[in-house]
């Protein structure tokens, strides 16, 4: 202690340290080591960055004597050295002083950094976090532009040159160089900033003087594609501007080509979302809760083009506690006039076969997958037209509601359209008939042909199909008896 006391600088002496570069950690480390060894307390040192005017008391000419030969080695943990290296890149002029103060304290308490509630440690943490974030954002937001070249002048062999202009908040250019070298090792590129520039030619990295925005190319043909991508990947139904701004603050916007679109995208978002909802709207949020309510609602339904044909909607009929629900395709000419399902020629045929199979139509709920009659005019006749998959799917809204209210144990779908309205996919009758399909709620779906299909056939074909139809109905009747017996 006595030797140290002898070398103690006289009270009131101030030291000014002029740094050659804003992020020169090696230089700071060298000086800080000497200062600690000479026992200079933190409040006696003014650290001066290049370009700064110097501190108030920096008469600064007090020369630091070389440290005593027997001075203790300066101790600093590896964690501190790493932290200091990062914090050195911060733009706050206090960083040198803060680091020196921590280094000073570490000599007495080697574990001082672990106390995260300490003001200095927290400040260091904050510096590090801000520098890391700035470095990360630079890696993310640098946008290279291809330098337009005169192909004749350079020849086809000349490597393409990519140049970016970026304005970092802290002194991170040098610290970040390695990332860009590793990522774009085989590309010729330059990054220009107000603090300096980096140039990579595929082999070596060299540093250049500070640059200006005008030194970089003003545009790049690829940016139009990039902007189009940016606009297309945005989902207007999920507008969350706050979340965007948190990660991409406005200060970065000026050097990113896509950000010019943001204002328009945001302004148009609500409109686009509303259009999407209107276009496909299945409006009433609440489903009707009774069959009569459905009956009323389907008359006003205009959700698909069939609804616009000025026909009347035909509601299903039958007891609400029916075990069997029979679903057809859509009302035909006569059903539309009568307002009841299955009353035309196909209906008569169905009734005959039901009777044969011993199924009581009066105890059955009979309805259609599509509620309106779709037709084209041929002279004076209205000619049936099959509904499209989209139209059937649109109408599922109603049939699902009907099924939820009637709660049949078994649903018999007549024809491919009816099967689609129950399953949501188009199936082949011949492959799916004659067996039960689960409907998810415990009930079963059976699929068979539509009676109007039988009407269109004659001769042997008709006989064969009627036989299959009867077999399906008989199987359904048998299964119904089984289900009722449970």
């Amino acid at each position: 202690m006595t030797t140290r006391g002898k070398l103690k600088p006289r009270l009131g002496a101030f030291y000014a340290v002029q740094l050659p570069e804003a992020d020169d950690f090696a230089f700071w480390r060298e000086r800080a080591r000497g200062l600690v060894q000479c026992d200079v307390p933190p409040d006696r040192i003014a650290w001066i960055e290049p370009g700064a005017t110097g501190s108030l008391f920096a008469s600064g000419d007090t020369r630091l004597s070389p440290p005593p030969s027997d001075a203790r080695a300066v101790r600093a943990s590896k964690a501190f050295v790493q932290a200091a290296q990062t914090a050195m890149c911060h733009s706050d002029p206090d960083r040198f002083g803060l680091l020196y103060r921590l280094l000073w304290r570490l000599q007495g308490n080697p574990r001082a950094l672990e106390d995260r509630a300490d003001a200095d440690v927290r400040r260091l943490d904050e510096f590090i976090r801000q520098v890391r974030r700035d470095m990360h954002k630079m890696r993310a937001f640098v946008r290279f532009r291809l330098v337009p070249t005169d192909a004749d002048a350079l020849g086809p062999e000349a490597a393409e040159h990519y140049v970016a202009w970026f304005e970092p908040e802290h002194h991170i250019l040098r610290a970040n160089a390695g990332f860009f070298v590793r990522r774009f090792a085989n590309m010729r590129w330059s990054i220009l900033t107000p603090q300096g520039s980096l140039h990579w030619d595929g082999d070596a990295l060299c540093e250049g003087p500070p640059a200006q925005k005008a030194d970089a190319p003003a545009g790049d043909a690829m940016e139009e594609l990039w902007r189009r991508y940016y606009a297309s990947i945005f989902n207007p139904a999920r507008l969350k501007i706050g979340a965007m701004l948190k990660e991409m603050p406005r200060k970065y916007w000026k050097n990113m080509p896509e950000t010019a679109l943001i204002a328009d995208l945001v302004a148009g978002a609500q409109g686009r979302e509303a259009t999407m909802i209107d276009a496909g709207a299945i409006a009433p949020e609440d489903r009707p809760d009774s069959l009569s309510a459905i009956d009323k609602a389907i008359h006003m339904c205009r959700r698909c083009p069939i609804g616009e044909l000025e026909t009347r909607a035909v509601m299903g009929e039958g007891p609400q506690d029916a075990d069997l629900m029979i679903v057809g395709e859509q009302p035909g000419d006569q059903e539309d006039l009568a307002g009841r399902p299955f009353v035309g020629p196909a209906g008569h045929l169905l009734d005959e076969h039901l009777e044969q199979a011993g199924i009581d139509r009066a105890a059955t709920y009979v309805t259609n997958g599509v509620k309106h009659f779709k037709f084209v005019m041929r002279g004076k006749r209205r000619l049936h037209q099959s509904p499209t998959a989209k139209e059937i799917d649109t109408c599922r809204w109603w049939i699902e509601d009907e099924r939820a209210l009637v709660k049949p144990k078994l649903v018999l779908a007549l024809g491919a359209s009816a099967a689609r309205s129950m399953l949501g996919r188009t199936v082949s009758i011949s492959r799916e008939r004659g067996r039960a399909h689960g409907l998810g709620d415990g009930s079963e779906l059976w699929i068979t042909a539509h009676p109007s299909y039988l009407l269109r056939l004659d001769g042997a074909g008709r006989e064969e199909q009627e036989r299959l139809f009867d077999a399906d109905l008989a199987a359904v009747a048998g299964r119904l008896a089984e289900l009722a017996g449970r």
């Binding site: 106390d115 990522r183 945005f234 139904a237 507008l239 989209k390």
Partner: protein
């Protein structure tokens, strides 16, 4: 009709891809382009190169190879019965676009998905071809995420895994009933079978690495999946249960949740309204609780209401704490890490700092305040050397004290 330009195709196929939530580019093996011929590097942490006004990051070029599809899934904008404009890229076009974007530092890599054309194998082959052009012909070392088609042959999936960083298959809906209803062409058994196959390949490759340094890598960033929230009637408890099951069985890196959002030319069987974004957020929070906070799935489910849904006004961790008040208050100077992680308002970072700091001093309420964002929210649940909440923890009005104030209703909120 004239052939659509690259610009038009990009617009159509990016638009069709935006309903996939994942954009992660992290967690793969470290590599860079030094010593190679091309560009690209991955250094562990992913980078988000831009953010769209929907708050989602843009890290990868996320596009479909084509939006033609032979499937008819109701929630999907590209289903067969939808009237959207169709387009198709060739594998070479996608590879060129990826490289052009990558060289300008717009992206971390490619996330390629596709509608199913012809059949599953043909489509998968085209997707693998894109990855092959990038990796083999251009020595691209950036990130590649391929959406795998479960019906494709295992051999193709294996080739995809050797080229890509991550593979994923969407389970789409949490319940089998929902899947049958809304995605009639998809098969839950097939999806899980393919996920199981990928897990086996990933494990095998990892095992091989232990024995041979140059063993081929298979999807080093693992596999992930996505579930749609709000398209069917599944409750949060169903979804959390399904997610934890997936994490356990297939060792997934991530399960993404995607709030069902209205799509152009929507199918009629789906609710068309604003996407349930807050619900999606709460599910992600519960996901975090399970992955980083040591919550078991059944404990997250304990935080749900009678219908099995998480409360929307407060986060699931607070909901759990309010339900199990007998576990609180927790002494920050003595309690274990596990118990500190249960305190609503204390994150993993804050807990780490508390543990480090309390070796040096006895923490006061002020100190805790300095390590966290809001001490007011934590106060009812902790004890420090100068603070004891006494009646506060058991007060009947605690929930109303902590729940965020109701904001004025949004004009267009549904």
């Amino acid at each position: 009709m004239s052939r659509p330009s690259t610009l038009e195709k990009l617009a159509i196929l990016a638009d069709a891809a935006k309903y996939d939530a994942s954009c992660a580019s992290s967690g793969t093996s470290k590599r860079n382009s030094s010593g190679g011929k091309g560009v690209g590097s991955t250094e562990g942490m992913g980078i988000c190169h831009s953010y769209a006004p929907d708050g989602r990051c843009i890290s990868l070029l996320k596009i479909l190879l084509t939006n033609h599809c032979i499937f008819d899934c109701h929630y999907c904008v590209n289903r067969k019965s939808s009237n959207v404009v169709r387009a198709r890229f060739t594998p070479q076009e996608v590879a060129d676009l990826t490289l052009s974007f990558y060289r300008r530092n717009y992206i971390e890599g490619l996330f390629l998905s596709s509608g199913i054309v012809k059949n599953a194998d043909h489509t998968m082959e085209q997707m693998v071809e894109v990855a092959r052009i990038l990796r083999d012909e251009n020595d691209f070392r950036g990130y590649i995420h391929l959406k795998t088609i479960p019906e494709a042959s295992p051999d193709l999936i294996h080739r995809a895994g050797l080229l890509a960083d991550r593979l994923s298959i969407n389970v789409e809906l949490p319940t089998v009933a929902g899947l049958t209803r809304l995605a009639p062409d998809k098969n839950a058994g097939m999806i899980e079978g393919a996920m199981g196959g990928m897990k086996a390949s990933i494990d095998e490759a990892r095992d091989g690495k232990k024995h041979f340094r140059h063993a081929p890598k298979f999807a080093p960033a693992g596999q992930s999946t996505q579930m749609i929230v709000g398209a069917d009637s599944a409750s949060d408890a169903d979804i959390v249960g399904k997610a934890s099951q997936l994490y356990g069985r297939f060792r997934l890196r991530r399960v993404y949740y995607s709030a069902f959002s209205p799509i152009p030319d929507a199918s009629a069987v789906l609710p068309l309204k604003r996407p349930p974004l807050i619900r999606e957020h709460r599910l992600y929070q519960s996901d975090w609780l399970m992955r980083f906070y040591g919550f078991a799935p059944h404990e997250v489910v304990e935080a749900t209401d009678a219908a099995g849904n998480l409360p929307l006004d407060i986060d699931p961790k607070l909901a759990w704490a309010l339900k199990f008040r007998e576990r609180f208050p927790v002494d920050v100077n003595r309690s274990s890490r596990e118990m500190l992680l249960r305190v609503p308002g204390l994150g993993t970072r804050a807990v780490g700092q508390i543990l480090a700091t309390r070796r040096h001093r006895t923490l006061r309420l002020d100190d805790v305040g300095r390590l966290t964002t809001s001490v007011a929210k934590i106060r009812p649940f902790i004890i420090t050397c100068d603070w004891r909440p006494t009646m506060l923890t058991d007060g009947a009005d605690l929930r109303s004290l902590l729940a965020p104030k109701q904001e004025q209703l949004e004009l267009f909120a549904a």
